[in-house]
Amino acid sequence: MKLRRDPWGHPRGLALVTWIYIIWSLAPVIMAIRFAFNEGRSRTTTQGWSLRWFWQDPTLSVFHDPSLHSALEQSLTLAFFAMLIATPLGIGLALGLQRWRGRGSGIANGLTLLPLVTPELVFAVGLFMLFTTAFKFIGLGTTAQVIGHVTFSVSFVVVIVRGRLQTIGSDMEEAAADLGAPPWEVVRRVLIPLLIPAIGASLLIVFALSIDDFVVSQYLASGADTTTVPMRIYAQARAAPTPALNALATIMLAVTLLALLLAYLVFRFSTRGQKGGSAIGQLAGLDARIDAGGTK
């Protein structure tokens, strides 16, 4: 991004507001992480440093308290399966919609965009009603939760992949087709390799959306062993006896940021020397989130 000259000169007031906002938005979370490393039991004051609430405490730490580490396992399981299902569904959908003109394309586009603007509560009540009435054979539980997570994340994949399709254009594909490659080969040998960065970004965003989700997970849960990390935090935030809850939240955040870093490296590596979109922007799903305006 290049330096822009602004008619106001350098707006110190705006700079001040921006930095105060940034501190306000991040400092509380940094404090919550800090409390996770407390030596004592307080979640409201700093009390030394230790890893007691991560694993050292023999009964109350995240590692040793079954209710905490089972939440971690459930969150990771859901994110893994959601990633695995939503990404291919979304890629197929994006490839199809990008080229589908005429009859039916308006409806198909609308159906893909609608989930992005539907409040989670409406989503969750809908799936809850579905799995407790018509789809009783599936019922509530892990399967329902995975389906729920796929439903709200598929549209994000579509937005990311379509963005990339627009960047790469159709020249390569047409060349391949002109040289006699059948349609499936064009997809497999030309499109998919060009889409690798978008696929990486999609996997990451589905992972993050799933890990952070609270409402859908809660409505489709069937009991203690389907409790996810956000559900556990929600249930205990006001009443937790020790900073182990903060430690759990910290681990979750670390996993998300690690995934982000990994995807960033993959993205950088696979788009070397290519034009279009800033790496950070595309990777952060920022472009997708801005375009789609998702709010999860």
Binding site: R4, R5, D6, P7, W8, H10, A15, V17, Y21, S25, P28, V29, M31, A32, F35, R43, T44, T45, L89, G92, L95, Q98, W100, A108, G110, L111, T112, V117, T118, P119, L121, V122, F123, V125, M129, L130, T133, A134, V150, T151, V154, V158, V187, D212, F214, V215, V229, P230, I233, Y234, A237, R238, M252, L257, G281, G285, L286, R289, A292, G293
Partner: protein, 302 residues
């Protein structure tokens, strides 16, 4: 070029999935909301429109309408969200403007810091505040030492000095905290695209900085402001967890809390479904507006 059926075939699984788990799921809400219940209050959905029973919908409507039992909750929800949106605009616009247009060599870092909250779970961000605003937390001690609690008490915005004890002020500020990032980013994108030459022209033709802002920049950023507003209004109307974590008192309940209470807690799931239908109908206005502008932008991009 591959034949058309290839592309349709590729999109079929995704479309089928969304049709079943999005459209049919919403139809399940309608079927339950317009259905009946067993003697144990278990909902019995009526899938056939000919069997629809409008009893619950009518009950929900009279509950939520002026004079109804839940009318104060509706008023409170709209009030909280309106105040939260106004504060969001006040905080978000300058930040987005600075980040998009004046940050210079810091722009990369600032953008990264503005995106960061996206990757932190919303629930964890609220957890952080429950730590800080607890009666012995750092934030509440600082605020009370500065006399902010007494000031809010005299202004009638707060009662007592427990920030997590059912204070409307806490809920509204938490809503702002939670949703500001989702407002800043679309606005950032639209301000980033704003043509610098128009601003320079306006200045060259003799307009003052204030006039340039009022007559050039503000009108040009209006679509971004509207998009951001709609984007945060939609989830706010369905929010129940912010209220639960930051107050938990029935005195600060919002519409989301009422629906959540019926669907998850009590025996009146059908009433909850009927209220979800009403909420969706209300939000459809915002959604239609947003989708229309999104489609327009897509068409321009293609």
């Amino acid at each position: 070029m591959a034949p058309r059926w290839v592309w349709r075939l590729l999109s079929a699984p995704g479309l089928l999935f969304l049709a079943v788990f999005f459209l049919v799921a919403f139809y399940a809400v309608v079927a339950v909301g317009l259905g009946n219940v067993t003697t144990q209050f278990q909902p019995v959905p009526h899938w056939n429109p000919l069997d629809w029973n409008v009893g619950y919908l009518r009950e929900a409507l009279s509950n939520l309408a002026p004079g109804g039992q839940m009318w104060p909750v509706v008023v409170r929800t709209v009030l909280y969200i309106a105040v939260a949106m106004a504060l969001t605009l006040l905080i978000g616009y300058p930040v987005a403007y600075y980040a998009a247009r004046c940050a210079g060599r810091w722009s990369g870092l600032i953008l990264a810091l503005l995106v960061l909250p996206f990757w932190i779970s919303y629930i964890m961000r609220l957890l952080a505040w429950t730590n800080l605003l607890a009666s012995d937390g750092y934030a509440s001690e600082a605020l009370n030492a500065l006399g902010v609690d007494r000031l809010f008490n005299t202004l009638g915005l707060m009662e007592g000095d427990d920030w997590l004890g059912g204070q409307p002020v806490t809920v509204i500020i938490a809503l702002v905290y939670g949703y500001v990032p989702f407002f800043i980013l679309p606005l950032y994108a639209s301000l980033n695209r704003l043509d610098q030459r128009l601003i320079e022209t306006s200045r060259d033709l003799g307009a003052s900085a204030a006039e340039t802002f009022r007559r050039v920049i503000l009108p040009l950023s209006r679509p971004g402001i509207y998009a951001g507003m709609v984007l945060i209004a939609l989830p706010m109307f369905g929010d129940y967890f912010t209220q639960d974590l930051m107050s938990g008192s029935p005195n600060t309940n919002m519409v989301g809390n009422i629906i959540n209470g019926y669907v998850q807690g009590g025996p009146d799931k059908s009433l909850g479904a009927a209220m979800t239908m009403l909420l969706s109908a209300f939000l459809l206005i915002f959604m239609a507006f947003y989708l229309r502008s999104l489609r327009r932008e897509q068409r321009e991009a293609e």
